[in-house]
Amino acid sequence: MIFLKAFLVGGIICAIGQLLIDLTPLTPAHVLTVLVVCGGVLSGIGLYEPLVKWSGAGASVPITSFGHQLVQGSLRELETNGIVGVLGGIFDLTSSGITAAIIFGFFTALIFNPKG
């Protein structure tokens, strides 16, 4: 069941991204940025967390989840350490994703050469 939900939610988020690419002048890089901001805003008003609970990877694999996790990191620190904590908390939850991207990205770029 969770797999079906993941398929539906993940598919819909990607379809929205495709619609934005095809029907607006936005480039893919713009669309990813818009999606991250949307994920963050939805997270801020408390709508993204239920979506993650309901659809698992369907909501946590698309890039919108990155915005969600940045916001959740910020809000958690806000709760424990107040406004000063916000700066320290933003990358709390995404650090493994960003680190993985840097490390794997770096070594892949080192090993492989551009094609064509």
């Binding site: 969770i2 797999f3 993941a6 398929f7 993940g10 598919g11 988020i13 990607c14 379809a15 991204g17 495709q18 619609l19 934005l20 690419i21 095809d22 029907l23 890089a29 669309v31 990813l32 940025t33 991250v36 901001v37 994920g39 963050g40 805003v41 801020g44 698992g56 990877a57 369907g58 946590s60 694999v61 890039i63 989840s65 990155f66 915005g67 940045l70 916001v71 990191g73 910020s74 809000l75 620190e77 806000l78 406004i83 916000v86 700066l87 933003i90 493994s96 994703g97 993985a100 991207a101 794997f104 990205g105 770096f106 892949t108 770029a109 080192l110 492989f112 551009p114 094609k115 064509g116």
Partner: protein, 155 residues
């Protein structure tokens, strides 16, 4: 006088014809096809992510913690496939279906790093790695900061 007016109107006609012709020949974006493919491929990547997540939970990760290794594994796979040149072909076929999941984030990092590799390890790979993924991080962090501020004020 009459001659030049005639010539002018003929020119206008030709211009109109040209515009019509250009409109006819313009490549129509197959929006429906693109959206369906993005939905199916994006959905399948998330199902694969869910599969990995379930696997990591079996290995002892708590539900909330299982997301991290899942995302890391997807990033590793997409980075390798980009390095091998496979992802470009796949990405062109799947569009946002391949680009919106975190795999697209990894792909943008590796492809920009490879594109500028000839400019050297420091300024090429190091400097350009985040030329496409950078905006995502910047605007994500700014959003998180602003949302944090708003929550602090409203509390």
């Amino acid at each position: 006088m009459g001659k030049s007016a005639k010539a002018k109107s003929r020119q206008q006609m030709q211009y109109k014809d040209y515009q019509q012709l250009a409109k006819q020949k313009q490549l129509k974006i197959p929006v429906f096809r693109n959206v369906v493919v993005a939905f199916v491929i994006g959905g399948l990547i998330c199902v694969f992510g869910q599969l990995l997540m379930t696997l990591f939970m079996r290995l002892g990760f708590a539900q909330e913690q299982a997301g991290n290794p899942t995302v890391a594994a997807l990033i590793l796979i997409a980075a390798l496939l980009t390095g091998l040149g496979v992802w470009d072909v796949f990405g062109q076929f799947a569009g946002a279906g391949a680009g919106v999941p975190v795999t697209g984030f990894a792909n943008s990092i590796v492809s920009s790093a490879l594109e500028f590799k000839r400019e050297g390890l420091i300024l090429g790979i190091g400097g350009h790695m985040f030329s496409l993924a950078g905006p995502v991080i910047v605007y994500g962090a700014v959003t998180a900061f602003v949302v944090g501020l708003i929550h602090a004020v409203l509390r």
